[in-house]
C-alpha cells in the first residue's frame, strides 16, 4: 500500500496460493495424526480428550473459521478494498495463532502438568508451567519458518524459470522471505533459553536428561544445525553482494564474519566429554582423560561460554546484514544477477530448519521418558522405547524429505501445471 509496487502484490498472491493448497494437506495430516494416535494409545487419548474437551472443541471451531477466512481472503482479493483485505489477513493470522496456543497447551501439559491435574481447573491445565515458553518459541519460529518457506518457493521458481524478468522477481522474493526468516531466527535462541529455564524450574531432572544425559548429543546435533543456519544466512548475504554494483568490496569484511561464526559454533558445540550419557562406561582401554575436556579448557564446556558464543554469532549475522545494507546504499541492486548458488542456500536453510524442528520435537517428546503425561500417566505400551540419536536422525531425515517433496509438489501444482496467477 505504501510503495504501490506490483511486486509486493505478486509476492502476497503467490505465497497465498501455496498456503491455500498446503492448508488442505495440513488439515488432512492433522486428522490422520489424531486417528493414528487413537488406535494404539486409547487410554492416553481418552485422558487428553476428557481433560481438554473444551480446548479440542474450540480448536475445531477455529479451524472452520480459519478455512472460511482463508477462502474469503483469497477469492475477494481484487473485489474488496485494500483495508478490508489486510484486515482479513490480520484476522487469519490471529485465529491461527489462537489455534496454535490451544494445541501448545495440550503439548506443554504433557511435559509439565500442574500439581494435582485431576482436580485442577481447565485454566490451570492450559496455563501450565511451560505453556508460555512454548508459546513464545513457537510464535517466533512460525515467522522464521514462514519466511524460509517463501524463500524456498522463490528458489524453486528461480531455478525453474526460463524468463529473466521472472528470475529477477524471484530473486527479490527469495531475499525478502529469507530476510524475515533470518531476522526472527536471531530471536529463537533467547526464546529457547526461556523455555529451557521453565523446564528446569519445573523439574531439574528434565534438564539433566536433556543436557547431560541421553539427550545431550541430540543437543550437540542441534548446535551444529543452528551454526549451519547462521552460516548459511551470512553466506547468502555474501552472495547477495554480487547483485549490487560495486558490492564485491564488502565481501572481504564478510569473510571475518564467517570465521567468527565457525569459531562461535565450535565453542558452542564443544562437549564436556564424549560419553553418550551419564551412565556410559568408558570404552575398554580408554582413559577418562581421553574423553573429557581438559581442565585448562573446561570453560569451553560451560554454559556461559556457549551463551557468549551464540550471542556473538547472532550479532555478527546482524552485522552481515548491515554490510549488505551499506552495499545497497552505495550501489544499484540488479535483481536476478546472482550466482545460482544463492538459490541453493535458500533451499539449504529451510531444509536445515525442518530437520531441526523434527529433532527438537523428538527431544521435547523424549524428555517425558516413559510417561505419556509426565509423572501422571505412564506409557506402558510395548511401543515405548528411548530411540537413539541415530534412529531419531533417520526419522527426522525421512520426515524432512517427505515434507520437501510435498512442498515441491505443491509449488509445481500451483505454478507449473497451469498458467501462473499474478504474473
Amino acid at each position: 500500500m505504501r510503495t504501490k509496487e506490483n511486486r509486493y502484490e505478486r509476492l502476497a498472491k503467490e505465497t497465498m496460493k501455496v498456503v491455500a493448497i498446503a492448508y488442505a494437506f495440513t488439515a488432512l495430516l492433522g486428522g490422520m495424526f489424531a486417528f493414528i494416535l487413537m488406535g494404539p494409545y486409547q487410554q492416553f487419548t481418552n485422558y487428553l480428550f476428557t481433560r481438554f474437551y473444551s480446548v479440542f472443541s474450540l480448536y475445531g471451531v477455529l479451524l472452520l473459521v480459519e478455512s472460511a477466512l482463508m477462502y474469503t481472503y483469497w477469492y475477494t482479493w481484487d473485489s474488496l478494498s485494500k483495508g478490508w483485505h489486510i484486515g482479513l489477513g490480520v484476522a487469519l493470522n490471529l485465529v491461527g495463532t489462537v489455534a496454535m496456543l490451544l494445541m501448545n497447551a495440550v503439548g506443554s501439559f504433557m511435559l509439565t502438568p500442574p500439581g494435582s491435574p485431576e482436580t485442577a481447573s481447565l485454566w490451570a491445565l492450559i496455563n501450565n508451567p511451560s505453556w508460555t515458553g512454548l508459546n513464545l518459541h513457537r510464535f517466533i519460529a512460525n515467522i522464521t519458518f514462514g519466511g524460509f518457506m517463501v524463500a524456498l518457493f522463490a528458489a524453486f521458481m528461480f531455478l525453474t524459470s526460463s524468463k529473466a524478468e521472472d528470475r529477477a522477481f524471484y530473486d527479490w522474493m527469495g531475499f525478502t522471505g529469507n530476510f524475515i526468516g533470518v531476522a526472527t531466527l536471531m530471536l529463537l535462541p533467547v526464546a529457547g533459553y526461556i523455555y529451557a529455564k521453565e523446564l528446569f524450574l519445573y523439574d531439574a531432572s528434565i534438564s539433566t536428561l536433556l543436557m547431560a544425559d541421553k539427550l545431550s548429543w541430540f543437543f550437540e546435533l542441534q548446535g551444529v544445525l543452528v551454526g549451519l543456519l547462521f552460516l548459511g544466512a551470512s553466506f547468502y548475504m555474501w552472495l547477495g553482494t554480487q547483485r549490487i554494483e560495486r558490492g564485491a568490496r564488502f565481501q572481504l569484511h564478510m569473510k571475518s564474519i564467517f570465521i567468527i561464526v565457525f569459531v562461535g559454533t565450535a565453542i558452542w558445540i564443544t562437549p564436556q566429554n564424549f560419553l553418550a550419557d551419564l551412565t556410559s562406561p568408558t570404552p575398554a582401554g580408554v582413559a577418562m582423560e581421553e574423553l573429557a575436556i581438559p581442565e585448562g579448557a573446561a570453560f569451553l564446556g560451560l554454559m556461559m561460554a556457549k551463551a557468549l558464543a551464540v550471542t556473538t554469532i547472532i550479532l555478527v549475522t546482524f552485522l552481515a546484514y548491515l554490510l549488505y545494507r551499506r552495499a545497497i546504499a552505495t550501489g544499484r541492486v540488479v535483481w536476478g544477477h546472482i550466482d545460482a548458488k544463492a538459490q541453493y542456500v535458500l533451499i539449504f536453510l529451510p531444509t536445515i530448519a525442518i530437520f531441526t524442528m523434527g529433532l527438537m520435537g523428538a527431544i521435547r517428546e523424549l524428555a517425558r521418558s516413559d510417561w505419556h503425561i509426565y509423572q501422571v500417566l505412564p506409557d506402558t505400551t510395548p511401543y515405548w522405547f528411548m530411540p537413539t540419536l541415530a534412529h531419531t536422525s533417520l526419522m527426522s531425515g525421512v520426515v524432512t524429505l517427505i515434507y520437501l517433496g510435498l512442498m515441491t509438489f505443491i509449488f509445481w501444482l500451483g505454478f507449473k501445471v497451469g498458467p501462473a496467477r499474478g504474473s
Binding site: 531432572s205 544425559d213 546435533l221 569473510k255 564443544t270 551419564l278 574423553l291 531425515g397 524429505l401
Partner: protein
C-alpha cells in the same frame, strides 16, 4: 597456476590450524591443562576442515543455471537428498547410548534397586553420581551406605535413606539446593522403595 592461487589461502590456513591442534598444543606444559584427547583433536579437526572447505566454496566459480524444468527439478531433489543425507549420517556418528535391555529375572532386591536407580523414568542418577557416573546436582552417593547412619543422630541408615527418599526436605545436605522431587511415595511402590534402599545401603 590460477587454481592453485585460489585454493592456497584456505589450504594453508587449514593446515596451519591442524598443525596447531596436533603438534603445537600437545607441546604445552601438562600443568596448563590443555592436553586434549584424540577424540577432541579429531572433533576440532573436522570443524577446521569444514571451515577450509567453506572458504574454498567462496572461491568457487558461479554455478551454471540448469536449463530445462525437468533437470532443474532433478537438481533440486538431489540437493534435498544430499543435505538431509549428511545430517542423518552426522546423527549416526555421534556417540549413541546403549538401549535399555529387556528386564530379565532379577536375582536380588539390591539388583532391582540398582536398576531402579538408573531408570530414566525415576531419574535418581540424573542428579546423584555413583563412582563418578551420574549428575552433580545432588550429593554424591558413592559411599552413602557408610555415611547414612551418621547423618542424623539417632537415625539408622535405613531410616535416614527412607526419609531422604520420601521426605527429602526433612534434611538437606549442606551445599545442595532443594531440588529432589517430593512425590516419590506416589511414583514408587513400597517394594521398589525397599529395593532402592537395599541398593543404596550397599554403596561403601
Amino acid at each position: 597456476m590460477a587454481p592453485i592461487r585460489l585454493v592456497k589461502g584456505p589450504l594453508l590456513s587449514t593446515l596451519a590450524i591442524l598443525i596447531l591442534i596436533w603438534v603445537l598444543l600437545p607441546l604445552l606444559p601438562e600443568g596448563w591443562g590443555w592436553g586434549f584427547g584424540v577424540r577432541f583433536k579429531f572433533f576440532f579437526s573436522i570443524i577446521v576442515i569444514s571451515g577450509g572447505l567453506f572458504f574454498l566454496l567462496l572461491k568457487a566459480p558461479s554455478l551454471p543455471r540448469v536449463k530445462g524444468q525437468g533437470k532443474a527439478l532433478a537438481a533440486i531433489f538431489l540437493f534435498y537428498l544430499s543435505v538431509t543425507g549428511v545430517l542423518v549420517v552426522l546423527g549416526g556418528i555421534f556417540p549413541q547410548f546403549e538401549l535399555p535391555g529387556v528386564e530379565g529375572e532379577m536375582s536380588s532386591a539390591m539388583e532391582q534397586g540398582r536398576t531402579l536407580f538408573s531408570d530414566p523414568a525415576v531419574g535418581c542418577y540424573l542428579c546423584h553420581a555413583i563412582a563418578g557416573s551420574g549428575g552433580t546436582r545432588g550429593p554424591d552417593l558413592s559411599r552413602i551406605g557408610e555415611v547414612a547412619s551418621n547423618r542424623k543422630a539417632g537415625m539408622t541408615a535405613e531410616d535416614y535413606l527412607r526419609e531422604s527418599i520420601l521426605v527429602p526436605r526433612a534434611y538437606l545436605v549442606p551445599g545442595y539446593p532443594a531440588l529432589m522431587p517430593e512425590n516419590l511415595a506416589d511414583r514408587l511402590t513400597p517394594e521398589q522403595i525397599d529395593n532402592l534402599i537395599e541398593f543404596l545401603r550397599s554403596l561403601r
